[in-house]
């Protein structure tokens, strides 16, 4: 199976040859890759070097946390990439962003309103949790739609608070 993996705009072409071999950018490497006790911690021994990392799947892509550094990447196989390229990039970006509560908490304030234009990084909701007031920010510019909460509401983890179009 061949994959194209992108980190910060740099692409790595990685082919899984068999259980113990991969081709990366044309070079063959010996890999020994296991998940530790079935947890999302992975140990990789690559040509004798030992690496361990946490791997999380998120809406933004795969997050690999290794030696204190976090790498965010997309992994696509060739078919997926062709499909995406055919569909065009614009389509994906025009999707709505749904702001979800990262943890249960109390809505302290909602400093935006429906129809308001917001910039990337602008605070959308202030949520109190763990005795702290946490600012939830917009990951991109857009227009606020469907505000579903108001100050004083108690929300569950992953509950959608509002959307940005």
């Amino acid at each position: 199976m061949k994959y194209i993996t992108s980190i910060n705009g740099r692409e790595y072409r990685i082919e899984i040859v068999d259980e113990h071999h991969i081709l990366i950018d044309g070079r063959t490497q010996h890999v020994d890759f296991v998940s530790i006790s079935g947890q999302p911690i992975y140990s990789l021994i690559l040509d004798g070097r030992s690496y361990e990392s946490f791997v999380y799947e998120t809406e933004e892509g795969w997050q690999v946390l290794m030696r204190g550094r976090q790498y965010v990447m997309t992994v696509e196989d060739e078919r997926e990439k062709r499909l995406r390229m055919a569909g065009g990039r614009g389509a994906a970006e025009s999707n709505e962003f749904h702001l979800k509560a990262p943890m249960p908490g109390l809505v302290v304030s909602v400093p935006v309103q429906e129809g308001q234009a917001v910039t990337k990084g602008q605070v959308l909701v202030i949520l109190e949790s763990m005795k702290m007031q946490n600012e939830l920010k917009s990951p991109r510019a857009g227009t606020v739609v469907r505000v579903r909460v108001k100050p004083g509401d108690t929300v569950e983890q992953r509950q959608t608070l509002l959307s940005v179009q």
Binding site: M1, Y3, T5, I7, N8, R10, Y12, I14, I16, I22, I24, Q29, V31, F33, I36, S37, Q39, P40, I41, Y42, L44, L46, Y51, S53, F54, V55, E57, W62, Q63, V64, L65, M66, R67, G68, R69, Q70, Y71, M73, V75, D77, P102, M103, P104, G105, V108, E128, S129, M130, K131, M132, Q133, N134, E135, L136, K137, Q157
Partner: protein
Amino acid sequence: MVTKVLIANRGEIAIRIIRACRELGIETVAVYSEVDRQALHVRYADKAYFLGPAPSRDSYLRIDKLIDIARKSGADAIHPGYGFLAEREEFAQACADAGITFIGPKPSAIAAMGDKAVARATVSKAGVPVVPGTEDVGNLSDNELLAIAPKIGFPLLIKATAGGGGKGMREVRSLEEMPTLLAAARREAEAAFGDGNVYLEKLVEGARHIEFQILADAYGNVIHLGERDCSLQRRHQKLVEETPSPIMDEDLRQRMGAVAVKAAQAVEYLNAGTIEFLVDKDKNFYFLEMNTRLQVEHPITEMVTGIDIVKEQIRIARGRPLSYRQEDIKLTGASIECRINAEDPYNGFLPSTGRITQMIIPTGPGVRVDTGVFAGSEITPYYDPLIAKLIVWGETRAQAILRMRRALEEYRIVGVRTNIPFHQSLMDSTRFLAGQYDTRFVEERFAMTDPEEDKEYLPEIAAIIGTLVAHQQTQRSAQIVRRGARDTSNWKWLGRWERLQR
């Protein structure tokens, strides 16, 4: 007599106190809220009583219930830990009224020091230098504060009178933004301490936050155990503490220590306490406040002095004289503490909740971990995000840093995100290595390590790992699809698989 101690707290500090009691042969009584039934402090204590629902004000802040449980369980003393009721005069008074020893200072000292404004006035009278501010009164109205603010000058800080730990604190750059910030500070203070009073204080720029640990017995003996540098903060929450402070010299230590002792004596202080100072670039120091309780960061002092501060607290509460004189206190080596919080440094330090499914804690020479969680613990949104304190000792500061690096790298916590990567970045930063930081460093000048300058930046390895995990998931999904062939829609199965992965 102190023969059975009720610990009016939870988490790592409750366990810390249970340990001290157990090593002194004293029985312990734990209390717990609905979500803490399986918590370690409940499991390690001799007795355990249910307090109430998860929110603090229904459980760990319920003075009536705590006194009631102390009576029912036969506890003759209460240790408040830090946070919750630790600095509430009425709690210490309620203990006294019930004939229960409060392991801490007298209510009068808590009152004098617990109200930060009164505290500043008190020590100022005793000749201790203070930061300019509304040190005389702590219950001013918004209008009064707005009137005084320009006289103190901007930037200034709004601080909770009853507070600590940065809760109810706001920084004000101009009069215009002050009303909004005042309201926010009062609201947060009310929620955290049940007291919305605030005071103002001049913001000393480029300052270091340096505190002195004090021990005082009932016979007028007061000693200090040296300093802790707590300048590494984010949103006024301490993140890393170290001792000795990189800016300290023996002369300054002696002078600040003497002032700290004087401040404690000004309120006839009893038991363990901490005098916090701001130190400016010219090593002028100002009294900031006194914490009339055990500090989160007390272990680093234990590491360099060999003194068990919690045991010493209990001895003092038993009416014994201090085990040490000032000249017995020798500081050996260096110690650093990293506060491990359930928050994601790669996502704006947002708190992270969930169940810890696996945990490997670093051990070995010179490493101490104070924690209240284990694999199976649920991290809830009800309490503060501190899940562990990682403390190291080294013969020198450099050795302590190297040891901290290896301990951070060894730490594995699965199930919630933690700020361990932040600490790893910090331990690698040249400013920290050089000891050159102030209280604004983390927020204003620190960034997670820049990949370009980082020998540990390994995107190709990360790409391989991410690809292998994605590949494994695809393979497994395909298997499930094959197994579920009778289902007409493959996508349903994929959806189910993804849910299983959560």
